[in-house]
């Protein structure tokens, strides 16, 4: 037998990563959390307004966006760092094989992406079935877009996990995990709050620019705004979203800009991680 091609080696690494993720209790917990969140939000949606009964897909999706933007990045960052920064002895054996370091990293990311996306699909799918049985198919398209947003978030934060964790073996692994948590907090909470806080101190034009930048440059915000834009159109937007729409001339321009941002947040961290991994000592 001859040595596998790069693509075959990448597929081998990805397959092993999927096998590990399938056997990890965290992947099952991740899927269960999504199902419970979605069912819980759908079932309790009318409680605050004094009503009862299940929300339809569209209302459930809007209610879920914030939770998805919090949970998915956390899971992708933590599981991503743990996958790309294995124990020293595992990393040394794996990276001494006759395949490029970049191939190993891409294989790990691809496998984890498939596993986490599958967990999201199972979780959202189970919850979607419950919503469908209780509230019908109204707004199912919005729910589908939310799931797509979750999958995009997974890709983005796995890419960031690669940048944070690639080659971090031994004691550096713990540091990489800590850094991943800082990145998660910054992306999901800090950047938005800081941008809004600073914007209140600025004049209108500068404030709008700052808010747009905070959306376009922060992948969590970009996907949250993109998901809301896809699910709700221009209704019920916040200050940052409205500023973005004004700057880009409408939903199409906003979607293109957000899409470019998300794509950049997937490609650039992975490229930087591969480059860094190629130059470090293990």
């Amino acid at each position: 037998m001859s040595a596998p091609t790069r693509l075959a080696a990448l597929a081998l690494v990805a397959r092993q990563e999927i096998a590990l993720a399938v056997r990890s209790r965290w992947t099952a917990i991740f899927a269960a959390v999504f199902a419970l969140l979605a069912v819980g939000v759908a079932a309790s949606g009318y409680i605050l307004s004094g009503g009862s009964g299940f929300e339809d897909f569209a209302r459930t999706s809007v209610s879920l966006v914030q939770l998805v933007v919090l949970v998915v990045p956390l899971a992708a960052l933590v599981m991503g760092v743990l996958a790309v920064a294995p124990e020293r002895g595992t990393a040394e054996l794996l990276f001494s094989q006759p395949i490029g370091r970049g191939v190993v990293l891409l294989g790990q990311l691809a496998g984890l992406f498939v596993a986490l996306s599958a967990a999201e699909l199972i979780g959202f799918g189970a919850a979607g079935l419950v919503v469908f049985l209780n509230a019908g198919e109204e707004g199912a398209g919005a729910y589908f877009l939310l799931v797509l947003g979750a999958i995009l978030l997974t890709a983005v934060f796995l890419a960031i996990a690669a940048l944070v964790g690639a080659g971090a073996v031994g004691r550096k692994r713990v540091r990489a995990l800590a850094l991943a948590l800082v990145v998660w907090f910054a992306a999901t909470v800090l950047v938005d709050v800081a941008a809004l806080g600073i914007a209140t101190l600025l004049r209108s034009t500068a404030a709008s620019r700052l808010l747009v930048a905070s959306v376009v440059l922060n992948p969590a915000s970009a996907i949250r705004v993109g998901s809301l834009l896809a699910v709700q159109g221009t209704a019920a937007f916040g200050a940052a979203s409205l500023a973005l729409l004004r700057l880009t001339g409408g939903p199409v321009g906003a979607a293109l800009l957000l899409g470019a941002s998300v794509l950049a947040w997937i490609v650039l961290p992975v490229a930087a991680a591969i480059r860094r991994l190629g130059h470090i000592d293990l």
């Binding site: 037998m1 001859s2 040595a3 596998p4 080696a9 081998l12 690494v13 092993q16 096998a19 590990l20 056997r23 990890s24 294995p86 124990e87 020293r88 002895g89 595992t90 040394e92 054996l93 990276f95 001494s96 094989q97 006759p98 395949i99 490029g100 130059h279 000592d281 293990l282």
Partner: protein, 307 residues
């Protein structure tokens, strides 16, 4: 073939290895010895392409190519010092994964598991393995590829007798099949059992590189003859000093250090002197003492002299 040519490595300000020149040829088993932190693992990892030289070069294969190149690593099998595997996978899945990655024939998985005496545990998750079993699984992975270069970082640490036999068989087979084998160890029994050559590192510098003949010669020169005598004549000390200048005579004990021929001549001189011989013991030079001597001399010389 493995060639370190002026290899040096710094980690920040810390110098791990200084100007190491060492070649391991086909069919040769070379042991790397040295205290903890002397640079043994750094040398092995550089040959496995995991560590890039700060100075000089590390090349492997025929023709020689930089060890950092994935193509060069096709001919290299490396066992890390504390090898580890994902705990959720079974031993068989681990070996099968690496078999496919190396492009080895399907039958190699069973052969490698058998070589490492892991057939009975092959379908158990690695998380249930003992430390020694994990080490044996590492040996199975290394054995898979039939690579012309074997790099083993302390391959026998934490091994039981079956594991030790597997590690020794791997190195022996490597020699008989014309591979270049470089291993590090603190177990001098492994060195005596396996090595064709011994390279000694101290503080990152190569302070000794002895082949089997040189090693045997050095050990023979350090052989010790102890005699217990009575009624030794006064002339015996002078006679012994002529044969073995380092011979010592204390009360009723004579200690002669030197090659076998010197020890035999000293014994003959004692007999000829008319002294009564009451006891005798003789032993060849010990590797641990020679090692301590080499390391001690290098440490006393200091880093400037070694560099």
């Amino acid at each position: 073939m493995i060639r370190f040519d002026g290899f040096g490595k710094r980690y920040g300000r810390q110098r791990a290895v200084s100007r190491v020149d060492l070649a391991v040829r086909r069919g040769e088993v070379v042991a790397l010895l040295g205290p903890n932190g002397s640079g043994k693992s750094t040398c092995l990892k550089a040959a496995a392409g995991l560590v890039r030289p700060t100075d000089g070069s590390v090349e492997v294969g025929e023709p020689l190519r930089s060890a950092a190149l994935p193509e060069a690593r096709r001919g290299v099998s490396f066992l890390p010092q504390k090898v580890a595997f994902p705990e959720a996978l079974s031993g068989r899945e681990v070996v099968e994964f690496y078999r496919r990655l190396r492009g080895a024939a399907p039958g190699r998985t069973e052969a490698a598991l058998g070589m490492a005496a892991l057939e009975g545990a092959a379908d158990r998750p690695v998380g249930t393995y003992s430390g020694g079993m994990v080490q044996r699984l590492g040996l199975a992975v290394v054995a898979l590829a039939d690579a012309p270069i074997l790099l083993l970082d302390e391959p026998t640490s934490s091994l039981d007798r079956a594991g030790l036999a597997a590690a020794h068989a791997l190195a022996d087979r490597g020699r008989s099949e014309g591979r270049a084998v470089l291993f590090s160890t603190h177990q001098l029994a492994d060195v005596e059992r396996l090595a064709d050559r011994v390279a000694v590192l101290v503080d990152g510098a190569l302070v000794g590189d002895l082949d089997r003949a040189e090693l045997a010669d050095r050990l023979a020169r350090r052989g010790v003859l102890r005699l217990r005598v009575a009624r030794a004549p006064a002339t015996l000390a002078a006679a012994l000093a002529r044969i073995a200048p380092g011979a010592a005579l204390h009360d009723d004990e004579i200690v002669v250090i030197g090659p076998a021929a010197v020890r035999a001549a000293a014994l003959e001189a004692v007999r000829a002197s008319g002294a009564e011989l009451r006891g005798l013991s003789s032993e060849e030079g010990r590797l641990d003492l020679l090692y301590d001597e080499l390391v001690g001399a290098a440490e006393r010389a200091g880093p400037e002299v070694r560099a």
